[in-house]
């Protein structure tokens, strides 16, 4: 199969994720968009690793997964806390740092 397809799929996934982050207000859904973007990146890493016959890309994909896992833990904890205090999971409601 042509390797281009993988890159296109990664680009599509990234675009879907980015759109989700920009357009949705629910923090959980925004989080899922972020995950999607990260995994699109992972897909691109693995694809190029295969293309170049170099394992660096694959190693980096593992790093991304580890970071993503940590980020989910912290991020979800924050979201839950915010929900408890403000009774809302909308990212637009959290604007205390407005200048």
């Amino acid at each position: 199969m042509d390797i281009t397809n993988y890159v296109v799929l990664a680009a599509v996934l990234f675009a879907v994720g980015a759109t989700t982050v920009l357009l949705r207000r629910n923090a959980i859904v925004v989080f899922m968009g972020v995950e999607l973007m990260l995994n699109a990146t992972n897909l691109a890493f693995v694809t190029f690793a295969r293309m170049h016959g170099d394992l660096t890309g694959q190693v980096l994909a593992f790093f991304v997964m580890v970071v993503a896992a940590a980020e989910v833990v912290v991020g979800l904890a924050i979201i839950v806390t915010i929900f408890r205090t403000r009774r809302s999971a909308s990212v637009d409601d959290v604007n205390l740092l407005k200048g």
Binding site: A18, V21, L22, L23, R25, V30, V91, D92, V94, N95, L96, L97, K98, G99
Partner: protein, 644 residues
């Protein structure tokens, strides 16, 4: 002399230890603190007597002794040894300070009996005695300066002694501050004089600086500058024109303080400085002339002010100023005047301390009333005070054979001695001195008869005047006897002049422009006339209880000839104005100029702040958009580069 010289440091040591115990001991020493103060001063007096009798028994040429204690400063070229100089001049002062000081200590035990802070009072008095003795015993200008500042501090503390912090005591605090600040102006003069002397001679001890070699090598300009700086110092300390304004207000302190510090001893320190520095003044005729002028102006100034004051202490303060004017005048006349300046200082120390303590006794009897218009007819109720103050009164008038006659007459005669090339001087200063004697007679007689004479008392209600305890009137008796007899004992045959000769030098005999008997007679005539005028006005005629409006001169003299107004207009207000200009300049020019910078930063901050919307999604859009723009740019650049 050498066997007892080791005792000299104890002169200072006793009162200093006394002050230290009383100040550090605090309330624990309240019960017996005043007796410790008396003891310390008395011990110092005993040492003074021993030293004086030893000195009398020593041949004349061996009477000046420098007692080296230790090396004080050793910095490069400047080496100052701490030492005491004992000579007839300093021993005279030591006797005056310790003897009158001890009498006043004893008097204060009774006078301050009801004051809860009596112990603190005695601590300050002891501190004063110690500092004054340092001043007169110092063998260098630098050590003299230590004593000079020490007496200034003690004077400040004692003028403000009754400053309890309550609004009613504000007068005390203001008077203390006024004295302190005006004295600082004089102190600058002393510091400047020391700097000049050090630059010239490379030393500050009297032995080097005042030696013939050092003074001979001095240029006329240097000598004049040093002389004038020393005069400024003397003016500040001795309340001479134009730094005289503080002395009247200083009467806010307790009366024994006025007697000891602001009449008998501290205020005469300026005269001591002039006489001690006589060698320099003699090398600078201009400075000498200024000294005489200052003395003459002050002697008339104080006398005129004294005529108008109704407050008994302020009248005495004005009189003190005037009498020190006499001493200054004499000190500016050269060797012919030095001995009489010190002689008058000594007799004045006795009769003025006696008059002040008498005034304190009157105030004590009249419930702290100081207005002489509310006294009158007190001679029957306060016989001892009446007689002792009477002796002081006759002494200050200069009636023979009382002490003031011997000293003041000497000054008047010296003022009439012609100066080569300036024939006007003898006439002008001689006349001023005689005129001053007449006015002195007027205001002192006024004071005496307003207090003790008069046909009917003008007391306020519920007054029961009575003599104080023996502790109060015994010092009065001693000082009264001194006022009466001291001049006769020391003056007859020039005993005192001969005694001081090792220090002041031998004065060539010059004839005054008028024959001596004529001067004496003229002086006595004007003195009696002045006294008779005052007797007629204040003893024969009734004294109104409310001060009449009076002439222009009387009103001016009541306000100290507008000295405060003059000081405020000429010095204080321009000073305030300058401070205000500097303050406004700092705030509106310097500060405002620099505040442009933070204002600009703040403005930019305000602009950029708007970028922070608080919406996470707009930040994300910004990042995504930015990355997109970068990607497009990179693609275009790299793509176009690749195409070439």
């Amino acid at each position: 002399m050498n066997e007892v010289i080791g005792l000299a440091p104890w002169l200072v040591g006793f009162p200093l230890i006394g002050a230290a115990i009383l100040l550090l001991g605090g309330r624990a020493t309240d019960r017996w603190g005043h007796w410790l103060g008396v003891l310390a001063s008395g011990a110092s007096m005993v040492v003074a007597f021993i030293l004086m009798f030893r000195m009398i028994g020593t041949p004349v040429e061996e009477r000046s002794v420098d007692h080296h204690l230790w090396t004080w400063l050793s910095a490069g070229d400047l080496g100052v040894d701490l030492g005491l100089r004992l000579d007839p001049l300093s021993v005279t002062f030591v006797m005056l300070v310790t003897f009158v000081g001890t009498l006043i200590h004893i008097y204060s035990v009774a006078y301050m009996d009801h004051d809860p802070d009596r112990r603190r009072f005695f601590a300050y008095l002891n501190l004063f005695v110690a500092a004054m003795l340092v001043l007169v015993l110092a063998d260098s200008y630098l050590l003299l300066f230590v004593g000079w500042e020490g007496v200034g501090l003690a004077s400040y503390l004692l003028i403000g002694f009754w400053d309890t912090g309550r609004p009613s005591a504000r007068e005390n605090a203001v008077a203390a501050k006024k004295a302190f600040v005006m004295n600082r102006i004089g102190d600058m003069g002393l510091i400047a004089a020391m700097a000049l002397l050090f630059a010239h001679a490379g030393a500050l001890d009297f032995g080097t600086v005042l030696s013939d070699d050092s003074v001979g090598a001095m240029s006329q300009a240097t000598a004049t500058a040093v002389g004038l700086c020393l005069l400024l110092a003397a003016c500040g300390k001795s309340a001479q024109f134009p730094l005289q304004a503080w002395l009247g207000d200083a009467m806010a302190g307790p009366t024994p303080v006025s007697a000891l510090i602001h009449a008998a001893t501290m205020v005469t320190a300026g005269v001591y400085l002039m006489v001690r520095s006589g060698a320099i003044l003699e090398a600078a005729p201009t400075a000498q002339l200024v000294v005489v002028l200052v003395g003459a102006v002050t002697l008339l100034f104080g006398a005129i002010v004294g005529c108008a004051k109704d407050d008994i202490k302020k009248a005495l303060a004005a009189s003190t100023m005037s009498q020190i004017g006499y001493m200054m005048l004499a000190a500016g006349l050269g060797p012919a005047g030095y001995a009489f300046a010190i002689f008058h200082l000594l007799t004045h120390g006795f009769f003025k301390a006696g008059l002040f303590l008498g005034a304190g006794s009157v105030m004590h009897a009249m419930g702290d009333q100081t207005d002489m218009r509310r006294f009158g007819g007190l001679s029957r109720f306060l016989p001892i005070t009446w007689i002792t103050m009477g002796l002081g009164w006759l002494a200050i008038l200069g009636i023979p054979p009382f002490s003031g006659f011997w000293s003041k007459d000497g000054i008047i005669e010296a003022a009439f001695i012609p100066v080569e090339g300036q024939p006007w001087r003898a006439w002008v200063f001689g006349t001023v001195a005689v005129l001053g004697a007449a006015i002195t007679a007027f205001y002192m007689t006024r004071l005496f008869f307003m207090t003790f004479g008069g046909r009917r008392p003008r007391w306020t209600e519920n007054q029961h005047p009575h003599e104080g305890s023996p502790l109060m009137w015994w010092p009065l008796v001693f000082l009264g006897v001194g006022s009466a007899a001291l001049g006769l004992v020391l003056g007859i045959g020039g005993t005192f002049t001969t005694w001081l000769e090792p220090v002041t030098g031998h004065a060539e005999h010059h004839e005054p422009v008028l024959p001596v008997p004529v001067i004496i007679t003229a002086t006595l005539v004007v003195v009696v006339l002045g006294a008779l005028l005052a007797f007629r006005m204040y003893a024969v005629n009734l004294v109104p209880e409310e001060a009449p409006r009076g002439s222009v001169l009387t009103r001016a003299a009541r306000r100290d000839l507008y000295q405060d107004a003059a000081n405020e207009t000429l010095v204080m207000k321009p000073g305030y104005g300058l401070a205000r200009v500097v303050q406004v300049g700092d705030r509106d020019v310097v500060d405002r100029g620099w505040s442009v910078l933070p204002q600009a930063v703040s403005w930019f901050g305000g602009v950029f702040r708007k970028a922070q919307t608080g919406y996470v999604r707009s930040y994300a859009a910004g990042m995504a958009g930015g990355v997109l723009v970068i990607a497009v740019v990179v693609w275009l650049v790299v793509g176009l580069g690749g195409a070439q």
